[in-house]
């Protein structure tokens, strides 16, 4: 490891929100040409730390220095001009503007004489920056047309153009395909070669181990351990993060699947999205659906649940045939659907936990003339909060937006458990939530399945599919390419099945 002077040094950082301390004197250093992995569960204080460094929040106590000089950003803008670039999880680009306009939006070069933008200077600089991040696109392309991974590269190019000394990455890989992740890592290596320091926040601990030279583990706002990567193993990081050793991430299920199918999908087809898809799911069975982003895995789930239309085929739930389902019919037939967009489709963010919990099961609380029994709403929401191990039981006072991602996801799960679904479709149920919350989600899934429900699980993490499923289906460009029983699970084969069309595999 380098013995150089740290680029960014943080010591004794403390911060409280409304009298509750969320950071208790956090120290860490970022060295030039190195990446520091900042890991911890949701709510451990990672975001607060980087928000302070990025000038979004002001610390209550603690010192920061950048290149040896004291560093006290007053605003995100101040942080940016000091050389801190923050690449957020939700990217801050303007979809309606072109790549080059986005790159220079804060300081578009002006024409020498006229009060106009010097388009030629913009173009030349943009081309150069795009080459540095290996993005082979004309700078005039509207950002709306770019994939999530390409947008991220634009953000990185922007950081380079502003001569950033430290780049903060917040969960950079969550919405990337594997290929895009590899490209991102190549570019991170290039940034390191230029002497740029990085703070890398991620729940994907494998990625952290692959990218970072140093690791700092946070728990409840304090540093639990820090040092060179070689001193850490995955198991040690996890036990530091959650405060206990987790030996089996995926809990065993005691009850095997039964024979009766809960869901039968027959010849489902929609031009450009799904091609003649047929499969079934049995009582007490977890079927994993593996596929790349854009393979049609989420679209398939949306069609089954009646959110998207399909042109041919039918869906049978129990003994009900749904030829043209709506979400309401799907729910009445016993389905539940946790979509991948928790904030946009799962929750009413401004509403209380109770209001969210009852949303799909309002009929249960209605008496004559649709009058709701509020007392019952509150007691049952509290019971549900306990069942899904929510961090609070103040179900009426607490709004969904004030909870962490893991707890928000638990509310969505609780909302559907209220209906005791026969078939629960889970699309990326653990995206962006920490190890502890993940395990709880797995526990809830298992309890539901042992009680006889069936689950269709969609996940980008092959390990998660392998750990939870009884059977895995693979999908590639709207076509099922394989069905694997638990005994036949193999990482390599599964990876192959999701990345290749079926014919290529046969040939």
């Amino acid at each position: 490891m380098s013995e150089a002077r740290p680029l960014l040094s943080v010591s004794g950082l403390a911060k409280s929100f409304f009298g509750v301390r969320v950071l208790h004197g956090v120290d860490f250093d970022v060295f030039p040409g190195e990446a520091l992995g900042l890991v911890g569960e949701n709510g451990s204080g990672k975001s607060t730390c980087v928000n302070i460094i990025g000038g979004v929040l002001k610390p209550d106590a603690g010192e920061m220095s950048l290149n040896g000089a004291p560093y006290h950003p007053l605003s995100p803008k101040g942080a940016a001009s000091a050389g801190i670039a923050f690449i957020h999880q939700e990217l801050n680009l303007f979809g309606n503007l072109s790549i080059e306009e986005n790159l220079f939006i804060e300081r578009l070069p002006k024409h020498r004489m006229l009060p106009l933008i010097d388009r030629r200077a913009v173009r030349a600089r943009a081309v150069q920056l795009l080459r540095e991040v290996e993005l082979d696109l004309p700078p005039t392309t509207p950002v709306a047309r770019l994939s999530q991974g390409e947008r991220q590269l634009i953000e990185i190019a922007k950081a380079i153009s502003m001569n950033a000394k430290v780049v903060i990455f917040d969960e950079p890989t969550t919405s990337l395909t594997r290929h895009e992740v590899d490209r991102l890592f190549t570019i991170i290596a290039r940034l390191k070669a230029r002497g740029i320091g990085m703070i890398y926040i991620s729940h994907a601990l494998d990625d952290v181990m692959a990218v970072c030279e140093r690791i700092t583990v946070l728990r409840d706002g304090a540093v639990l351990g820090g040092g060179p990567r070689d001193e850490f193993s995955l198991a040690r990081i996890i036990s530091l993060m959650v405060g206990r050793a987790i030996d089996t991430i995926y809990p065993e299920r005691m009850v095997p699947p039964r024979a009766d199918p809960v869901l039968r999908v027959e010849g489902l087809a929609q031009p450009g999205v799904a091609k003649d898809i047929t499969f079934d799911i049995k009582e007490g069975e977890v079927v994993g659906l593996g596929g790349l982003m854009g393979s049609g895995r989420s679209e398939l789930a949306r069609m089954i649940f009646g959110l998207d239309a399909f042109s041919r085929g039918r869906i049978i739930v129990g003994d009900k045939v749904l030829a043209n389902p709506t979400p309401r019919e799907a729910i009445d037939a016993g389905m539940a659907f946790l979509t991948e967009d928790r904030r946009g489709e799962g929750l009413l963010m401004d509403f209380s936990i109770a209001e969210n919990t009852i949303l799909a099961a309002l009929g249960r609380f209605a008496r004559a003339a649709g009058m709701l029994e509020w007392r019952k709403v509150v007691t049952e929401s509290k019971t549900m909060a306990g069942r899904v191990h929510l961090s609070t039981d103040r179900v009426v006072e607490t709004r969904a937006k004030h909870l962490s991602g893991g707890n928000q996801q638990k509310i969505v799960i609780g909302k559907w458990l209220m209906r005791m679904p026969k078939l629960f479709i889970l699309d990326e149920p653990t995206r962006g939530i920490d190890v502890g919350a993940k395990q709880e989600v797995y526990r809830i899934i298992n309890a539901l399945v042992e009680a006889g429900s069936a689950v269709l699980l969609i996940s980008s993490e092959i390990e998660e599919l392998m750990g939870l499923s009884d059977r895995i289906l693979t999908i590639y460009r709207g076509e099922l390419t394989g069905s694997f029983a638990r005994a036949a699970f193999d990482r390599e084969i599964l990876m192959g099945a999701v990345t290749r069309p079926p014919r290529a595999e046969a040939g």
């Binding site: 009298g19 607060t48 209001e355 209605a366 009058m371």
Partner: protein, 347 residues
């Protein structure tokens, strides 16, 4: 988890609680009345109070309907056209000067027809918004122009004057059916009980619907996040259509009361109330972005606007001055709403 607990905690203190309170606008009304008292002492007389309550009733009913539409993240600009069209349709049925069912016997059919007009226009608005996927602003702007024009055109078939008069005594007597006359001190409180009673029923019914029923949950969910509502199995389209229909029927009800009071069916009835109605609802604190709004808030907003109107008129302010002040107050209310959310509720 620690930050969760931290963020939940809201800034306390008396000022904070006051500003966040449901009754903040009501409190402002009281403060305003107190402040205005030295300049217009008659404000507290029974006569003026009675007038204010009477003025409030029709406005309140149409504002309640508007609240439903605003909560589902819509807006209904067509309410004044509904008021006008229902007025002339009703009048054309029962007018003693050549109506379809002249005389007192035509009053009930006329009233039903008026409510029907309101419901139909509301339904049309709702269907256009959901089926054609058009923004509510555009839809109701179009229906407003269309039906306002239609009201005037329709009138020309029934009368040569500007409004359809000669309404049967049963209808014109409706507004003043039971008048409470109560001498208090030197002044006399005169209160037409029927419109007040109707307004009270509408307010209570709407309040219970929004706060206590399943339909209320649907309306708030659709307004807060349509996609979440859909995934959760809520009939989003029917909820939107219903909200617009309720709004239309409320506007027609206001049309009935106003026509009865003016004793004529005028195609320009209620022409000026649109901005008062939307203004009142917004002053109350209902969000134009949907998902947030209460009938109690609307009640306070309407009261505030009527109070403002009355004091300014008593002070002898000219019409344009009243407009200027009302505009400023609505702007201030909107700003205040943003501010109080930012300062006292968020971290």
């Amino acid at each position: 988890m620690v930050p969760d607990a931290g963020r939940q905690a809201r800034r306390g203190g008396f000022a904070g609680r006051l500003v966040r309170s449901e009754y903040f606008v009501l409190l402002l009304c009281a403060l305003y009345a107190l402040a205005a008292y030295p300049f217009v002492p008659v404000l507290f007389s029974a006569e003026v109070a009675g007038n204010m309550i009477a003025d409030m009733s029709p406005l309140l009913i149409v504002a309640v309907g508007q609240t439903f539409v605003l909560v589902i993240a819509g807006i209904d600009l067509s309410i004044t056209a509904v008021i006008a069209l229902s007025a002339v349709v009703g009048a054309s049925i029962m007018t003693q000067a050549g109506g379809y069912l002249p005389g007192n016997g035509g009053v009930l059919p006329a009233i039903l027809a008026m409510l029907g007009v309101g419901g139909a226009v509301g339904l049309l608005n709702g269907l256009s918004v959901t089926r054609l996927n058009m923004p509510p602003f555009l839809v109701t702007l179009a229906t407003r122009m269309f039906f306002a024009g239609l009201a005037i055109w329709y009138t020309t078939f029934h009368t040569t004057s500007s409004s359809i008069a000669d309404l049967p005594p049963l209808f014109t007597g409706l507004y003043d059916f039971v008048v409470l006359t109560l001498p208090i001190g030197e002044s006399v409180l005169t209160l037409p009980l029927l419109p007040v009673l109707i307004a009270v029923i509408v307010v209570i019914g709407a309040h219970v619907t929004l706060s206590r029923t399943m339909l209320g949950r649907w309306i708030y969910a659709v307004g807060a996040n349509r996609r979440t509502a859909r995934v959760s199995g809520i009939p989003v389209e029917s909820t939107i259509i219903l909200a617009f229909t309720i709004c239309g029927v409320c506007a027609a009800l206001t049309g009935i009361l106003m026509s009865s009071r003016l004793q004529t069916g005028s195609p320009i009835l209620g022409e000026n109330v649109l901005l008062d109605v939307i203004g009142a609802v917004v002053i109350g604190g209902t969000s134009l972005f949907g998902g947030k709004g209460k009938i109690v808030w609307t009640l306070s907003g309407v009261l505030f606007l009527v109070l403002l109107d009355t004091t300014l008129k008593l002070l002898g302010a000219s019409l344009f001055l009243i407009f200027i002040i009302k505009g400023a107050v609505i702007l201030a209310a909107a700003t205040l709403d943003t501010l109080r959310n930012r300062i006292f509720v968020e971290h």
